[in-house]
Structure formats: structure tokens, C-alpha cells
């Protein structure tokens, strides 16, 4: 759970952007305006998948100034646990769904003299909203966007048409790559760097910038992890006095929710820290997949993030 009320919404458009990506538009069921939001925000979409409740976070990509509706893009993940499959196969215009209030874990630093954005694949979506917002505010930005090929480079043409020279495009299959060291060296003082894309890309961008001496406060990244699949296990909730069975394709958080327990969360992707739980007992191995806990905490086996992390062993007791 999270304190804020959900937004009852209706899907008004489903657009096939390319063979892997679909775009969805939501408007409020009561016809009212959506809350304003800041570029980089996400919303959590609730899916009722034949009795199983799935909640996935997706970046908002529509113009934050447009309060008539929200748009997200979903990349189909054929090997995943089914949230994106559900969005692709089952969600049709006219469907009613609950979405969360916007939450921003990837905000713009408005003190920046310039915003340098680096996107890989579907990681483009938060930038689409950020660029629209900066354009309205008169902020200075530049986008470098890499995709596998022309077919999968969603929104490339629209963005170039809208922002012209400020958009730089790279296609892997055509042997184009961002010349990162040169790009980073040429930036004016006061530039902030933002990266969103696959893990490898984020690490590459951040480590290159750090090597060049960029201040930590000027580096921003966002990576939502999809909760990984794994083996089934059991967890005892010490405070609620309940034992929960976590299925192989279910996250611990989802299993806890299915047992009727209101557990805190925001991102459901191991990034925000909201779901952090103390571990009371663990006979076995804690499988940490988040990037919230520090290495010391992981080593001490003192905490776990139920939204993405799992367990392998005979007994796990957490404080919930």
C-alpha cells in the first residue's frame, strides 16, 4: 500500500508502436483532470490477471502540462513474469484500471545549467516527459538516444521532429555508438547527466563520468528491475503472524499482498527503499536483487527488499 488514493482510470488508446512496444493512454474514470506531475515520474498500474493481482511501475511519458490523461509505453518481455504480457495481450481501449498517483525517483535538478540525457531502448520514456517539461520552462537539454535498430527506436522520428538538433540518434545495427568520453568532456560547467536504460549502459555512463571527475550530485540514473522469477519459498511475517507461500513467478511482495497484508511500496523495482524489511531469522540464502541496501546491510543479512528479492533455504522470518 501507499498512503495516497488510487486513480480509477479508463484506457482510451492502445497503440502498437513497434513489434515490441505498445503505448497506453489513461484518462480518469470521473472525467476530471489527472494530477500534474514532474518529468521522470512513474505510475504503478494494477492488473487483475485471472485472480492474480500484478502491479508494475511504468514511467509517465506524456507532457506533464497535459492534465487530460497519462501515457505509458510497455515493452513486451517474453521471458518475464507476465505483467508486460498482460498489458500487451489483454488491455484494450475501454478497460477500467487502477493506477497510482505519480511518484518521482528520477527528478530533474532544476539548478542545472544544462540537462544531458542518455537513453537506451525503452529507457527513453521518462525523458520524453522531461523534455516536454523543460521545453515549456525554457530549460536547456540534449538527448542521446541509442536503440538496436530503426524499427525498435520508438519515438525517434517524433522527437527529432519536435526538438531538432537537440536529439542525437544511434542505431547499434548500423554500427553507431555514443562517443561518451568526448561527449562528457565537452559539457559546460553546471551540466547534469541523466541516464536510463539497460543496466550495462547505466554502469558504463556513470563510471565514465566518475572517471572524468563529475560530481556525484550531478549524476542521475534510473533502472527499474523487473522482479526476477526463481524457486518457490516460504516466509513468516513476525508482526502479522502469518506464513506466506511465494510462488516461482511471484514476488515476495505480491505474495504478501495476496495474503491480505498491506505492505509499503513505491517503485516495486528495488530502487526506492520503501518496502525495506528487517530480517529476524534466515536459515538459508537471502537472494538480494535490489539496489537500495548497502553492501554492509546485505552482508549483515539484516534487511531484505520484498519487491524484488528472494530466498532459498529452510526458514525466513521478517518483521512485517
Amino acid at each position: 500500500m501507499s498512503g495516497a488514493s488510487k486513480i480509477p482510470a479508463i484506457v482510451t488508446e492502445v497503440v502498437e508502436v513497434n513489434s515490441l512496444i505498445k503505448r497506453f493512454r489513461f484518462v480518469r474514470e470521473d472525467g476530471g483532470p489527472m494530477p500534474g506531475f514532474s518529468g521522470g515520474s512513474h505510475t504503478v498500474v494494477e492488473m487483475e490477471d485471472d485472480g492474480r493481482r500484478r502491479l508494475n511501475a511504468y514511467s509517465l511519458m506524456s507532457d506533464p502540462a497535459d492534465r487530460s490523461g497519462y501515457e505509458i509505453s510497455v515493452r513486451r518481455d517474453d521471458g518475464g513474469r507476465g505483467g508486460s504480457m498482460f498489458m500487451h495481450a489483454r488491455v484494450k481501449p475501454g478497460m477500467r484500471m487502477q493506477i497510482s498517483q505519480p511518484v518521482n525517483l528520477f527528478g530533474l535538478d532544476l539548478r542545472a545549467k544544462k540537462h544531458l540525457m542518455i537513453a537506451g531502448g525503452i529507457g527513453i520514456t521518462p525523458f520524453i516527459a522531461q523534455m516536454a517539461q523543460l521545453d515549456g520552462l525554457g530549460g536547456r537539454f540534449e538527448l542521446h538516444y541509442a536503440a538496436r535498430d530503426r524499427e525498435l527506436g520508438a519515438y525517434m522520428n517524433e522527437l527529432s521532429a519536435r526538438y531538432g538538433e537537440r536529439v542525437h540518434r544511434y542505431y547499434d545495427t548500423e554500427g553507431q555508438a555514443i562517443d561518451l568520453p568526448t561527449l562528457l568532456k565537452g559539457q559546460p560547467l553546471g551540466t547534469h547527466l541523466y541516464v536510463c536504460g539497460p543496466k550495462g549502459m547505466i554502469n558504463w555512463v556513470l563510471s565514465t563520468a566518475q572517471k572524468q571527475g563529475w560530481p556525484k550530485g550531478a549524476l542521475h540514473s534510473e533502472e527499474f528491475l523487473a522482479p526476477p522469477v526463481g524457486e518457490a519459498f516460504q516466509v513468516d511475517l513476525a508482526l502479522s503472524g502469518v506464513t506466506v507461500n511465494v510462488g516461482a513467478t511471484q514476488s515476495m511482495l505480491e505474495a504478501i499482498e495476496a495474503a491480505g497484508i498491506d505492505a509499503p511500496y513505491l517503485c516495486r523495482g528495488g530502487a526506492c527503499g520503501q518496502c525495506e524489511c528487517k530480517v529476524r531469522e534466515a536459515e538459508g540464502e537471502l537472494l538480494h536483487y535490489d539496489h537500495w541496501l548497502s553492501d554492509e546491510q546485505k552482508e549483515a543479512r539484516s534487511h531484505i527488499m520484498p519487491c524484488v528479492s528472494r530466498f532459498k533455504g529452510s526458514r525466513l522470518v521478517i518483521e512485517l
Binding site: G3, G36, S38, Q101, V103, N104, L110, G136, L266, G273
Partner: protein
Amino acid sequence: MSLDDAFKDPFFRDESFFGKYTYKNSPAAIKRFPFPFPEDDYMYSVNMEPHVSGRPGSVFEHAFDVDEHYVSEMRDRARVLADDPLRCQSLPHMTLAGWDLLELIMESFARDYPQWFELHKDGNKWHWINRPLGIDDKFTFLDESTLPYGPMEYITRQAQGDFTLQDQREDNLWIEAGMVTSQADWSLDFDIGMSFHEWHAPVPLAGKMGVFDRALKFLLQLQHGAPVRRFNWTMTVDPLLDTSPENYHKWGPSKTTLSAENIGQRQHLRVELQTLFRLPRSNAIAFPIRCYLISFEDLVSQPKWARRLHRVIKNLPDELATYKGFIRNRPLMIEYLSQFDDGAPTSPGWWADE
């Protein structure tokens, strides 16, 4: 803009917060005073709760409380600002947060007090009417050049309480804009640019308990649409809103003039209703700090509050009484309040007994 028509609604009192101090609570305002002690013991805590609509008539019936002191308080703010313009500051990157705050307050006022405020929107062309203050302005949302002040200053000259705006970055909150004219002994000019822990550093005991680490973590995750609130309190001699460090030389000495004869009229309990809102476009956090003052004399008209305040003041650790600035007059307060405490049990919660 003119204040000439200000007092047409007799609901609003014409009173002063300085000089002759004609500030006073009506009987209805006493009944709805936010008495901050739910129990006979007081311990510093962060004690936040959802800022949802509360009891009809109470100070948290609405997101922002507009009460009988509104017009006079806004006049007092204008007076303080005329003396010291640095009471209102906003770093350049906080302008968007200022617009967020303006929108939040205008929408709330117009929805909750339609008899006094109106907001009409046609895209970004907005029309704002504030009857109690005699304001009728048309402007373009997000275009500063169409307002007489920056957006935060414009709207907080029309809203009771102090306001600060916190930017969020690097897993911290930075106080980078504010309108502060009725503060309990802290200074915007001194604190601007500080991080969360820096500006809380002076509270004794609390740092040790790790409450600020937990509070910061909680606030970083504050969600849009789910504001929270908490209370704070202190003591002020005379109903002076502006007890700022800049002006300590003006208000500090009044503490030495308190006596058994005048304490009932002059000693005031000062309660801050602090709320926190996540702002949508800027992702900043707005922190309205609303101040309520009640004289001891008025407060003891509610027997439950009289008994409880006596017990709280008597049992408060010395560090806290010192920090809150009333250690010197504590014996006088206890003596005065003890007349109204027969030792009877008090009912739970803070509401006055019916």
C-alpha cells in the same frame, strides 16, 4: 489590489499582533483551538499522521484553515515584509515549486471557501478573486511577468502561516524558498540552502533518538495526494506572531515582565500545525507552518486543557523547557495553572470536553 473592502465580512476580526495587541480568540475560536497534547505527558516525537479532512469545524476540516484572524494576519505579514523583505526568499530554481504552491492554495481555497475565494481557469489564463483581501487578478499560469510578485510570494501574502519549500535531490531535502514572518525563533535568511539535518540540528534529545533520520526517510517518500501533518508547540509572551531571532531584542525582554497578575492575559500557548505536501510539477515539498495562539486565560476556560497543560508543563524535562524558551517563567506558569488542576483524570485525546 486594495485592502479597503477588507472588513465587510464581520467574521474577520480587526486586531493587531503588536503594539496594543488587540489579538483575541472568540469563544468559537477557543473551542476549535488545536490543543496539542493528547496525553498528560509530553515527549518530543515526529508523530506524523495523514493530513486528511478532520472534524467539521476543526482546524483540519480543510487542507488550509482560514479563520477569523485571516485578514489581520495578512496585514501583519505585509507590515513585517515592508520592514524586512528578506523574510521572503526563493532561489531561482524554486519558481516552479512556487507555482505548484500557488495552484494548491488557490484550488483548495476556492473549493473549501467558495463564499470568499474564486478561481476560474481557461487553459493557462487564470482569474483569481480573494474577497476578504479585495483582490481580483487575471494572470497567466507559469508566467511570472503577469503577477505583481513571484508566485510563492504572491500566494503566501494571501495565506495564513509561514511556508517553506524544500527541493529534493541526493536523497535529501534542501530548504530553498520560504515566506517566514510568524516564526517561532528561527530565521529563513540563516537557514536557506540548508539540508534537512542542518536545520533540525538545534532540537535537543531528538537527534540522539534518530528521529530525524527516520523522518527524512519518510519525507523523501512523501507522495502526491497524501499530505501529512504534525503539531509543534512553544510559549510566547503576548500574541506576537513575529518572534524571529532578528527581532529578539524587541520580544525577548517581554519574558521578564511576566507576573502572577498578568500571566493569564499575557502568556500564550503557541501551537504550530505543520503540514507537508508533495508538489506535483516540481517534485518539491511544501511545508506550511500554521501558528495558533491562545492566552492562558482563554485556555483554562476548558477544564480538561487546564488540568493537562499544568501536568505537561510540570513534568517537562528542563532541556525542553530551555529549548522552548520558557524555563525562566516555568514556576510562574505552574503556579498559575495549578489553580485549575484538581487532580481529576482527563479524557483521552485533545478535544475539549463538551
